[in-house]
């Protein structure tokens, strides 16, 4: 009803406003209070432009009066209604306040109850929580203990492992040391052997060089001796090319003949004698100055007499 009235009022306002050609600004928010009172939000008025045909001026003035009248009546009614409404509202407010009080008390009770309840629940919860925590703690502790034990075990194992590894390492190290020592010993041995070998080779090379020097020196003196003996040897007429006499001679370091021995006879006395005679005819043998070469080659040697070409 109210709304219908409002609607109508709005339509009237609208119409009036429109009649002043210039559209009216938004209606004054008179109903705001009412709207504020009303807890229910009013739906926003839908402004729908109403197309009204342009009536006649008189009618429009009559209509205007009527409408003003109506608007005054309506205003009165509205004021009455508003007073009524305000009363109702006060009553309702009272009621509402009582109800609110009731509700507040109930709410308080409820709140108290709920609080107690909550507190109990909280306590229970806390107890449970504590219990849970305790249990959890216990479990945690047990787990912790277990973990610790495991950790200990692990550590122990680790230590053992470490110890084992250390022992292994130590053993390996010892082995390595031993092996290295052996290798070192071998290397040292080899190097010593090599060194000794090098020395031996150097000595051998020196000996060889000495030997070859002695040899060449020896060859020189062999040639001299050969020449001297060839000049001193008179093969007898009975000599033949197949006769060979071998004499072993020993010299003194002065080159003088110490002894001569017929070690292999030609089978012909004259031939043998001629050889011995030749060997003995040299008052002094050409010998090297080097005592080593002398000792090595000329202290004692063999002379073979074997004519290749007889006259």
């Amino acid at each position: 009803m109210l709304s219908v009235g409002l609607h109508i009022a709005l339509v009237v306002v609208a119409l009036v406003g429109w009649s002043w050609t210039k559209p009216l600004d938004e209606p004054k928010p008179r109903t705001i209070a009412a709207r504020l009172i009303a807890p229910q939000p009013e739906p926003s008025p839908q402004m729908e432009p109403v197309q009204q045909p342009d009536p006649q001026e008189e009618q429009r003035r009559l209509e205007e009066q009527r409408k003003a009248e109506a608007r005054r009546q309506a205003e009165e009614q509205r004021k009455a209604e508003e007073a009524q409404a305000r009363e109702q509202a006060r009553k309702r407010e009272q009621e509402r306040q009582v109800a609110l009080e009731k509700e507040r008390k109930a709410k308080e009770a409820e709140a108290a109850r709920q609080k107690a309840d909550a507190e109990a629940r909280e306590r229970a919860r806390q107890q449970a929580e504590a219990e849970k925590q305790r249990k959890e703690e216990a479990a945690r502790k047990a787990a912790e203990e277990k973990r610790r034990q495991q950790e200990l075990e692990r550590q122990r194992q680790e230590q053992e492992e470490q110890a084992r590894q250390a022992a292994e390492e130590k053993r390996k190290e010892a082995e390595r040391r031993l092996r290295e020592q052996q290798l070192e010993a071998l290397a040292e041995q080899a190097s010593k052997a090599q060194e000794a070998e090098a020395q031996r080779q150097a000595a051998a090379a020196a000996a060889k060089a000495r030997e070859s020097q002695m040899m060449s020196e020896s060859e020189k003196y062999q040639a001299l001796i050969r020449e001297r003996l060839s000049q001193a040897w008179y093969p007898p007429s009975s000599a033949t090319e197949d006769m060979t006499a071998r004499l072993q001679i020993t010299l003194l370091p002065t080159g003088e003949l110490a002894s001569v021995k017929l070690v292999s006879s030609s089978g012909n006395t004259a031939f043998d004698n001629s050889a011995v005679s030749a060997v003995r005819s040299l008052s002094r043998y050409p010998i090297p100055d080097s005592r080593d070469t002398f000792e090595r080659y000329f202290r004692q040697f063999t002379i073979e007499f074997n004519p290749r070409r007889l006259r």
Binding site: L183, L186, A187, A190, S191, A193, Q194, E197, R200, Q201, A204, A207, K208, E211, S218, Q222, I225, R226, L229, S230, Q231, A232, W233, Y234, P235, P236, S237, S238, A239, N268, T269, A270, F271, N273, S274, A275, V276, S277, A278, V279, R280, S281, S283, R296, Y297, F298, Q300, F301, T302, I303, E304, F305, N306, P307, R308, R309, L310, R311
Partner: protein
């Protein structure tokens, strides 16, 4: 690491092996090969030897000094170089007077000392031969001979000395037979003579106005065979020296020449042309039977037995000029020996059968040459230019031949290898056809 070690060890092992080998070589050297010096040639010279003048007690025949004869003998051989007595530092006559040092200083190899002793009509020699270098006595003997044969005694000592030193019997006691030619009253006079090897004590065995050729000694040295034209034609005679008994054993028609004794003395090789051409025959002396050994249209002559008395050397011109041939046995197919020139004749074998000596013509000159029968190698032994009639000494060490000297024929002795030569003292006239006697046993 271990690899390196192994390498080291391997190297050490390797070098160890090396040095072991080296050590073996080095140590094996002196152990297995003591220095050996080979002497393959002797001195190209005669042996220095001293024949110290022998001490003499009692009267000795004048002119014949034993030590001088020995010295000459040994010198003649070409193998010795006797020291002249004036160069000797001392004149020992027995062993305990010999100071080897003195002789060594003089470069002497041998010293012969001796003492002569006259005992009635004999003379004895006590002699000792020393080897100076070996300081040992090679000989110590006493020999004696009639005073008239003091040269025989000297030659005997020469033989002993020669043999003691050379190992070969001496040939100084042998003799030479040769033919001399003189012009006496415008006519030629041929003499067959026999002398010592030094040409001394020559004795005329035969003389003739007709040629005497080719004397040949019997193996026992008691007879000579030769060609004589004394009957106006050539005939072959045997001549017993001790008795002078002569036998004409061949007087065939034509040529009768070049007699040669068989080693057993029972037969002769002769060149006869009784069958129309000069051929070689063998005559048995006892039966005078002949065996013809050659049969060729060319001349075959100058046959001689080889040293074994089986094969025969001879001269033949079957190849166009005279060459030396050899038949392995009597009547065998002859084999030519000489090829060196167009003229090689008058073969004479060496005592050991190793060589054959012959007259060899080269570039218009006649030399004595020899061919080694093993190798075929020919050696010209003489430098003289008209050499002929080589004859080898019985010990094979000397060779005598006739040659020209100052327009006269002389005899020259050379050593068998062509060494030193010795010309026999000139006798009256030309000397030809020397024949060296065997060693008298």
């Amino acid at each position: 690491m271990s690899n390196r070690i192994n390498t080291h060890r391997f190297r050490a092992l390797k070098s160890g092996l090396w040095s072991l080998v080296l050590a073996l070589l080095v140590s094996a050297g002196p152990a297995s090969a003591e220095l050996l010096i080979r002497i393959t040639e002797g001195a190209d010279a005669a042996i220095p030897l001293s024949v110290v003048p022998f001490a003499e007690s009692g009267a000795m025949p004048a002119g014949d000094n034993v030590s001088t004869i020995i010295r000459d003998d040994l010198a003649m051989s070409g193998e010795f170089r006797p020291l002249p007595p004036e160069k000797m530092l001392s004149l020992p006559s027995k062993g305990d007077e010999v100071f080897f040092r003195d002789w060594r200083m003089l470069g002497q190899r041998y010293v012969l000392v001796g003492q002569m002793q006259r005992e009635g009509d004999r003379v004895s020699a006590r002699y000792e031969l020393f080897d100076v270098n070996r300081e040992s006595r090679l000989l110590g003997e006493t020999a004696s001979a009639p005073v008239s044969n003091i040269r025989t005694l000297a030659h005997h000592i020469s033989d002993k000395v020669y043999e003691a030193i050379t190992g070969v019997p001496g040939a100084f006691s042998t003799r030479l037979a040769y033919v001399t030619l003189q012009n006496v009253n415008g006519k030629p006079l041929y003499k067959l003579q026999v002398s010592d090897v030094d040409g001394k004590r020559a004795r005329i065995r035969l003389d003739s106005r007709e040629p005497i050729l080719s004397p040949a000694w019997s193996p026992d040295g008691k007879q000579l065979a030769y060609v004589s034209f004394e009957s106006s034609k050539p005939a072959i005679y045997l001549h017993e020296l001790s008795s002078g008994k002569r036998t004409r054993i061949a007087e065939f028609k034509g040529l009768n020449s070049a007699p040669a004794w068989s080693p057993d003395g029972r037969s002769l090789l002769l060149t006869l042309s009784k069958d129309g051409n000069a051929e070689i025959y063998k005559m048995d002396i006892a039966s005078r039977s002949l065996k013809r050994l050659t049969n060729h249209w060319s001349i075959d002559t100058e046959a001689t037995w080889d040293h074994r008395g089986r094969g025969i050397f001879f001269t033949s011109d079957r190849s166009g000029g005279p060459q030396v041939y050899y038949m392995e046995s009597e009547g065998a197919e002859p084999r030519r020996i000489t090829f060196g020139s167009r003229y090689n004749a008058r073969p004479r074998p060496s005592a050991d059968g190793k060589y054959v000596y012959y007259v060899h013509q080269r570039e218009g000159a006649f030399h004595i040459a020899r061919t080694n029968l093993e190798t075929g190698e020919e050696t010209v032994l003489t430098r003289t230019k008209l050499d002929e009639s080589p004859s080898v000494s019985p010990n094979g060490r000397m060779l005598i031949y006739a040659t020209q000297q100052n327009g006269q024929s002389v005899l020259t002795v050379i050593s068998a290898d062509g060494g030193a030569n010795y010309t026999l003292p000139a006798s009256e006239g030309d000397v030809r056809d020397p024949a060296w006697s065997p060693i008298s046993r």
